[in-house]
């Protein structure tokens, strides 16, 4: 077995144990959340104008979907289901499989969060390199300030700001949703165009919110690398500026890959505020609604998905780092 394979096996074993522990802890916590969702549903329906009798009827039958048995029995059922990749049925959408709901929401999270993250990463690292190289100039200052400002601005403030400007004051983009419902879904230009139009605001928010972090991290990394001996050696050897730039960028970007891989794992958690403000039905909004509805099975499924994604992202980050950094690889082989 090679060093990398041994390392991977170790990661997978630890990851599996981690998932098991987190699943158990989250199961207990979820089942311990106080609150009577059915009573709350009844009161809401009454407030919305339904007669008490109708509201009673609309809620009473839902009790049948609540988990039954002791906590241990519920846990045993849950783990048995997990072995068969069965996360159970949703309580808030009775009859719907949790896996179906998660898969549907994941679609609307992966697309904008991934695009937003990659966009902010690409722009952030390029601007970060410039900010480091030009750190004594006005351009450097402007880039650094833009990074600090956007990094410090909470996501929901940014989302509200963009929403107010581009959907209300200048109604260029839709206020919410995923696509124009009148268009036939499919791989056709009109529908894809609509998907892009509806996703623009969430993507822009993700991208702007992430940009600040990337530019600051890259700038700091580049400044560190610029002081290394090999850069001085390259300059003394009279290498072209472009080549030196590549040396700097390739070495400075290494630590950011780890963060990027972890960010991709975290994207499965969705972005609750952004999704809520733009009514974008991703995993964050699903999780939020499941908590409000006390949909235990859906909450459990969402937490499991996030846990698995983060564990995998950690493993990928570690393996990737081993693969892309020859110093780490050669160090392991030597040991």
């Amino acid at each position: 077995m090679t060093v990398i394979a041994r390392r991977l096996a170790g990661h997978l074993a630890r990851g599996f144990a981690m998932i098991l522990v987190v699943t158990t802890i989250s199961f207990v916590i979820i089942r311990s959340i106080p609150g009577d969702p059915m009573r709350a549903r009844y009161e809401k329906l009454v407030e919305q104008g339904m007669s008490p009798d109708q509201a009673e009827r609309a809620t009473a039958a839902l009790y049948g979907f609540m988990p039954k048995g002791t906590l241990w029995e519920q846990y045993a059922d849950y783990m048995r289901g997990l072995l068969h990749l069965d996360l159970g049925q949703s309580l808030s959408v009775p009859g719907a499989e949790v896996t179906t709901l998660l898969a549907s929401a994941a679609t609307w999270t992966i697309l904008p969060v991934l695009v937003g993250t990659l966009l902010s990463f690409a722009v952030g690292i390029i601007m970060g390199v410039y900010a480091a190289i030009k750190r004594s100039s006005k351009l450097g200052d402007v880039l650094a300030v833009s990074g600090s400002l956007l990094h410090g601005l909470p996501q929901y403030v940014l989302a509200l700001l963009l929403s107010a400007v581009f959907t209300t004051l200048l109604p260029i983009f839709p206020t919410g949703g995923t696509a124009d419902v009148t268009l036939e879904p499919g791989l056709n230009a009109a529908y894809i165009g609509s998907l892009i139009q509806y996703a623009t605001m969430p993507v822009l928010t993700y991208a702007l919110a992430g940009y600040g972090g990337w530019i600051l991290a890259m700038k700091s990394s580049v400044v560190t690398v610029l002081g290394d001996d090999f850069i001085m050696a390259a300059e003394l050897r009279g290498l072209k500026r472009g080549l030196i730039f590549r040396y700097v960028a390739r070495n400075a970007i290494l630590p950011l890959f780890t963060i990027l891989a972890l960010s991709l794992g975290l994207l499965f958690g969705g972005a609750i505020f952004i999704e809520r403000i733009f009514t974008y039905p991703g995993l964050g909004l699903l999780l939020l609604n499941s908590i409000t509805d006390r949909d235990y099975t859906l909450m459990g499924g969402a937490f499991l998905l996030i846990t698995v994604a983060i564990v995998i992202a950690n493993i990928v980050a570690d393996m990737l780092y081993t693969a892309i950094d020859p110093r780490v690889r050669s160090g392991q082989e030597a040991s």
Binding site: L45, A61, Q89, I110, G177
Partner: protein, 605 residues
């Protein structure tokens, strides 16, 4: 790097493919893009879920009342009479004078959206489904009041439903008329072939009745989870497509009144919070929006949008500050009265619900509009509890409370700290509670607001008797039983099981109000409030009036709650594309715009 990018691109591709798959698409479309489109939201269904079935029994089901979910009749918004309806699947109905039965005639040309006729068999089958869900008209317990005991198909388009003679209820007629009607030819497999025989056993005292009841109740889950392959609607619209952002419905060309339905398509937009509804309204996107709590500043911007107009009407709901009378000093009526005299309800309403409420004139358990209709001259005789600090001080002293250094203390001199609990997410309740505590602090009573994380937690803790005071909806009319059940029902100790009324001790079985079982009322002697409330279910109208008068005076005298504001049904319509919306105080205002469209009220411009 390349691997990471490849993984990211693969994820993106998978997401795009899934997104392009779209949502449910289960209807025949007869309308084309570009025709008259009516845009709205469904207040009963915030959070559209494209994965939910096209099922009216499912809480997230993609059926929308008045559009593609059709009741026998649509209840009018009346101050006192719960048995007035607009036609739905039923064209006309005849209620027996003693409300013992209702004979329903369907529209002779009524058809499902697949072209098949709507028959009395469909209605009977839908009633069968309703039995699995329960409710007054469809209870399985033989001793329950107002249960439909006999369902007789008179002919293909006529059906007669009779309620149990032993234990009648005034809620029976409304219970029947609010039955959602689904097509038997689509739903037929959900009920077992011997369902009606099982029901007969379940509604009897025969051996095996309990098992039969359990069997029928267990069908509830099957009914709720049932997912028809496509929408077959009795309403004016049929679901064409739904995605996570909105639902698209197209006109049902077989609807009996299709020629007068002004819209060819309806878009129902998804929303997760009130602020999204405000944005839709400011942008002028909605042709109609049902009641949503709106701050005054936002309302000003909404009405500035071209075509937007505000319509206001009666809403049988009031907001009240409810006491836990098993806790000191709120067990003392003088303390409750003192608080009523100290709270300036006008100010509280101005802060909490300036657009959607009017300050309550007094506390009677009734919305002030309904109170005038029920009580007549008796309404003026009620104590109005106008702001009066001097009287409040007298009441507090009568309760034995003491004042030290300008602050009120308990009779034994220990500090009195009043806490009001509200759910954190209810901005109007929170604002109202803060306004109340601010006024009380100014009057020398140490008061604070404590928020609960969310509504389910609030209700659970309230039911467990953990709060001194909390906000509570009352006056849920028009049925008088429903109105007073909020004051003298389970939360105040009265439990009704199998037609038998009992009173449980405060702090047990959800009795968080902790009021006394009987009270002395001037001119009436000792009365049992819960018993009187239950009587409202079956009493004739004249007796109902007497009971309502007694209960209103009792609520006014003993103050189990202090009514703060009466809700006003404030809606926004946009007259740019359509006209003919119901006006102020219309009895159709609490119905969905789908009902307005199907009745032909709304016209295309």
């Amino acid at each position: 790097m390349k691997r990471l990018v490849a993984a990211a691109v693969s994820l993106c591709f998978a997401a795009v493919t899934a997104a392009c798959g779209g949502g449910a698409d289960g209807a025949d479309s007869s309308a084309s893009v570009g025709s008259a489109v009516f845009t709205t939201i469904d207040a009963l269904k915030p959070g559209i879920d494209a994965n939910a079935p096209i099922n009216p029994y499912n809480p997230k089901g993609n059926t929308f009342r008045g559009y593609n979910a059709e009741w026998l009749g649509w209840t009018k918004n009346h101050l006192t009479d719960p048995d007035r309806f607009y036609p739905g699947v039923a064209k006309s109905w005849q209620i027996a004078p003693d409300r013992s039965s209702i004979t329903i005639r369907l529209h002779p040309d009524g058809k499902w959206s697949d072209g098949r006729p709507i028959t009395a068999e469909d209605v009977k089958f839908s009633i069968g489904l309703a039995y699995t869900q329960g409710g007054t008209a469809y209870a399985l317990d033989p001793s329950a009041a107002g249960t439909a005991s006999n369902i007789k198909i008179v002919d293909d388009k006529t059906i007669k439903i009779t309620q149990t003679a032993e234990n009648p209820s005034s809620a029976f007629v409304r219970g029947v008329m609010e039955t959602v009607i689904v097509p038997k030819h689509v739903w037929g497999s959900v009920l077992p072939a011997d369902f009606w025989e099982r029901l007969k056993v379940a509604q009897s005292d025969a051996p095996g009745a309990e098992a039969a009841r359990a069997g029928i109740t267990s069908l509830a889950e099957k009914v709720i989870a049932f997912a028809p392959a496509q929408d077959v609607s009795a309403g004016p619209f049929v679901l064409k497509r739904v995605n996570p952002g909105e639902a698209l419905l197209v006109k049902n060309r077989y609807f009996h009144n299709a020629a007068n339905v002004a819209a060819d398509q309806v878009r129902i937009l998804n929303y997760t919070g009130n602020e999204q509804v405000w944005n839709y309204l400011v942008a002028g996107r909605l042709d109609s929006a049902p009641f949503t709590a709106v701050p005054a500043g936002v309302m000003r911007r909404i009405v500035q949008t071209q075509g937007n107009a505000v319509v206001r009407g009666y809403s049988p709901v009031s907001e009240a500050l409810a006491f836990n009378q098993s806790r000191r000093p709120y067990d003392n009526v003088h303390v409750r009265r003192a608080l009523a005299y100290l709270i300036d309800r006008e100010q509280v309403t101005k802060v909490a619900s300036p657009e959607g409420g009017t300050a309550s004139v007094t506390t009677s358990g009734l919305h002030q509009e309904a109170a005038k209709a029920w009580l007549g001259d008796g309404f003026a005789a009620l104590e109005p509890y106008r702001t009066d600090p001097a009287r409040a001080e007298r009441e507090l002293r009568a309760a034995g409370m003491k004042k030290k250094d300008g602050r009120w203390t308990m009779p034994d001199g220990s500090p009195w700290k009043m806490t009001i609990n509200v759910p954190a997410s209810f901005s109007d309740w929170l604002a109202g509670a803060k306004a109340v505590t601010s006024q009380l602090n100014d009057a020398g009573i140490e008061a604070e607001v404590i928020t609960s994380a969310d509504y389910p937690l609030y209700l659970e803790e309230m039911a467990a008797g953990k709060y001194d005071l909390g906000f509570w909806l009352v006056a849920l009319g028009p049925a008088p039983y429903n109105i007073y059940q909020r004051l003298y029902g389970a939360q105040n100790g009265w439990q009704l099981f199998g037609g038998k009324l009992t009173h449980v001790a405060p702090g047990t079985k959800g009795n968080w109000m902790g009021g006394a079982e009987t009270v002395d009322l001037a001119g009436e002697g000792r009365i049992n409030l819960g018993e009187l409330t239950v009587k409202l279910n079956s009493a004739p109208e004249a007796e109902q009036k007497k009971i309502v008068s007694t209960l209103a005076r009792a609520a006014n005298q003993d103050l189990p709650v202090i009514q703060l504001w009466d809700y006003v049904n404030t809606q926004v319509v946009n007259t740019t594309r359509f006209s003919g919306f119901p006006g102020d105080d219309s009895d159709a205002l609490r119905l969905t715009s789908g009902v307005w469209l199907q009745l032909g009220m709304v016209k295309r411009k």
